[in-house]
């Protein structure tokens, strides 16, 4: 990979790595005795590792200038491998934390293994580690193909990919040692947050600069979604993480917001993270890989437009449905609820657009597990957006809130939609990227598909049952006018469902392990010269001056 960089690029890469290593060293020095010092050492080691890697390839011959006429796919390849590694790690912790709810002794008396710590390890690893890497990897691929333009230069994509993974490592290692802002899905502390802002701005600039240089008159739908994902996540991340650190040598910080304002900011962030990270980004993925794999045109361009603007506009209002019947003023709840209901229409329009695109290709869905992954993802996207709008209705929410129903809903989206569309896209992408005729084993993809589907269904059904029973137990009064069940009674009733949920998660994890093995074996297979499989690795244009050499 270093061999593909020009001498000048190698020097810049080395300079950035050493600069980050020095930042790590400085943090380690000022943060002695504080978790931030440990993080300083982690940053130092990580950056030194990258710089050694660059040094090892530093004297490789200068790469051929003709590489600049082709798309730049090395960051995508590394991103795919990282995504699968995070998937296995995060899902393993998911199974563990699920088992912990059924058998609380599974912490083995270790502080780092308590529920409050390994639960964010699970969520961060799967959402940001797996989902984020899958988004970055596919976005670079889609961006170049649909713009017919190479990425603007070779250093910034690496900075985004490796910087983003450093952020994930700081986040996850922080939970083990007790560092958290206690904001759901925004747990990392101020220094990690600031670093992510830098990474994210660079990511945004890559997108803008590539689009600027596109050879297509129009910007493809997938890029609208990827752009919305990058832009809005930046806004959400910055606003929700506004905080004042205790000092530059301490990990701890205090949020700028308090009380109900803090809650509202957090759930404005939280729900839009679902919207723009877990929905918009993955819709971008779907809009490229699904029609590509099916060999079908998108069902309706107009529907794409309505859905895109509907989703981006409506989601912004919906966050307050997380705070029904709380200290939040009721008018804010009303707005959150009504916009959530309208939101169902563009959501289903997107899912419908995807499924209608498959008209004329259903025989492929039957035969090809990769396409089937994407089809089922679209179905789960439709199911979980319906469920979400339903649960946003105040009367429904009074039953579902704080119960496992919410957990089931999230996993219908996360396993059924996000993970399935990612697996489908990655299975389509891997042979293209590594120039293989096909995946190592299509049988393993079948196995992965059925394990993932079975795992998701078991999980979601267990949580529906558990959540509704829980909600009903919490609101049942006896004849004396007292709550009929104690909280412990509801836990006892949950136990069998917690075991079922763990089993469902385990099936899903096994599927992901099979998938990782399959991808690894595909990469190790010998390549074939012919196989770019209808996926161009260069823009079909005569070389133009706009394609500047190694900026």
């Amino acid at each position: 990979m270093v061999a593909g960089l020009s001498r000048g690029d190698r020097q810049v890469a080395l300079a950035i790595s050493i600069l980050i290593a020095l930042c790590g060293l400085a943090l380690a020095a000022v943060g002695r005795g504080d978790p931030i010092g440990t993080h300083g050492f982690i940053i130092l080691l990580y950056a030194l590792g990258v710089s050694f890697f660059v040094i090892a390839g530093y004297y490789a011959p200068e790469p051929d200038i003709s590489r600049l006429l082709r798309y730049y796919d090395d960051p995508t390849k590394v991103g795919i491998v990282l995504a699968m590694a995070w998937a296995v790690f995060g899902l393993t912790f998911g199974v563990w934390v699920a088992a912990l709810l059924a058998w609380p002794d599974l912490t083995f008396d270790a502080g780092w293994a308590s529920f409050g710590r390994i639960r964010p390890v699970h969520t961060t690893s799967v959402i940001f580690g797996f989902g984020g890497n899958a988004l970055i990897a596919t976005s670079f691929h889609v961006l170049q193909r649909t713009s017919r333009a190479r990425l603007p230069e070779q250093i910034s994509p690496w900075f985004v990919l490796l910087g983003y993974n450093l952020f994930c490592i700081i986040a996850v290692s922080g939970y083990f040692i007790g560092v958290t802002q206690s904001k759901e899905y925004a747990e990392p502390e101020w220094y990690a947050d600031i670093f992510l802002v830098v990474v994210w701005v660079v990511y945004f600039l890559i997108y803008i600069r590539t689009l600027q240089r596109r050879k297509e008159p129009h910007i493809y739908v997938a890029n609208w979604y990827y752009m919305a994902f990058i832009l809005v996540v930046a806004v959400l991340h910055i606003v929700n993480n506004l905080a004042v650190p205790v000092s530059f040598g301490h990990a701890k910080s205090y949020s700028l917001f308090s009380g109900v304002q803090d809650a509202m900011t957090q759930w404005w962030y939280g729900h839009n993270a679902v919207a723009f990270f877990l929905t918009a980004g993955f819709l971008g993925m779907m809009y490229y890989y699904l029609p590509k794999r099916a060999g079908r045109p998108i069902f309706s361009y107009r529907l794409s437009i309505i859905s895109f603007w509907g989703i981006t506009f409506m989601y912004m209002w919906a966050g307050s449905h997380h705070l029904h019947y709380t200290a939040l003023p009721q008018w804010v709840q009303t707005l959150g609820m009504t916009f959530s209901i309208v939101l169902l229409v563009p959501s289903w329009a997107s899912a419908g657009n995807a499924l209608a695109t498959l008209n004329g290709a259903w025989h492929k869905v039957r035969d090809d597990a990769t396409l089937r992954f994407m089809m089922v993802a679209a179905v789960f996207y439709g199911l979980s957006t319906f469920e979400g709008s339903f649960m946003a209705i105040r009367a429904v929410n009074s039953l579902s809130h704080y119960t496992d129903w919410t957990v089931g809903h999230v996993h219908a989206g996360a396993l059924g939609w996000v993970a399935m569309i990612s697996f489908g896209s990655i299975y389509a992408l891997v042979p293209w990227m590594w120039k293989r005729e096909r995946m190592y084993s299509s049988k393993l993809i079948e196995w992965h598909f059925w394990l993932a589907l079975a795992g998701t269904v078991v999980y979601v059904f267990a949580m529906w049952n558990s959540g509704i029973i829980q909600g009903l137990m919490w609101r049942t009064y006896n004849e004396s006018g007292t709550l009929a069940y104690s909280f412990v009674d509801s836990l006892v009733a949950m136990h069998p469902y917690y075991i079922a949920r763990t089993f469902g998660g385990l099936l899903f994890l096994i599927g992901a392990i099979l998938g990782s093995y399959n991808i690894w074996m595909t990469i190790r297979q010998p390549g074939t010269a012919l196989a770019s499989q209808g996926e161009a690795d260069e823009p079909h244009l005569a070389p133009q001056p706009a394609l500047q050499a190694g900026e």
């Binding site: 649909t146 009303t334 707005l335 008209n359 004396s480 006018g481 009674d489």
Partner: protein, 293 residues
Amino acid sequence: MELGKRDPVTGRTTTGHEWNGIEELDSPVPRVVLFFLAVTILFSIGYWVLMPAWPLGWTYTKGVLGIDQREIVTREVADAATARAGWTDRVATLDYAAIEADPALMQSVRETGRTLFVDNCAACHGVDAKGGPGFPDLKAKSWLWGGTPEAIAETIRVGINSTHGDTRVSQMMAFGKEGILDREQVTNVVAYVRSLSGTATGAPLDADRVKAGQEVFAANCVACHGEAGKGNAELGAPDLTDQAWIYGGDAQSIYSTVYGGRQGHMPHWGERLSPIDTKILALYVHSLEGEAK
């Protein structure tokens, strides 16, 4: 790139654009989408008219139904209290003996008491109230601070070694650690204590040790546990002659207790539970005594 190519499957034309092989059809937005968009938006507008909805600077639109969630919950809580007043008023006014003599009233007390107990007390005393290592068994009829409902209510209110001003205070001194007794004396008094409850199993107790232990006991322990070892509810000193052991009744556990001392802790609940809930809970706990062991 053909402009407006016709798709053979659907018969629709494309928009004429193409991105790396991906095309888009020019299908109109299905009517059903527009229909549901209209329905959901109309529903929302209707809901905004009826309910509190839009901010207006310092205030907001109140909605024609005049619904306010705070008023609703306040009213519902008041209604629920009224509905319960039929029996809770009697619990509040009658004394413990009178309540316990009324089976119908006790039925409500026990139903409510169980939920209160499991939500507040079970974390230490167990769902079945049988305690665990370090936490007393409430069904054992072996009360540290007295087993009348009045005494139980007071213990719930102020706690034991708690932060409450009127807390019940009790401590078993660390006779070994503080050097008051040597190891031999501790071993002897453990043997004597075990002989009191007749719980000793395994190897029979050494009669000499028991005798020597009795002297140690008379010199050091009777002030709190009484000459017969029956304990003292005024001081929270446990009865050593029964079968109930908070920290274990085997030789090793009793040795640890005598050597290192004990200072159990129970939080005070007076600020968390209302007086009537405390009363219900005390009656419930007292009623557990009557259950078959």
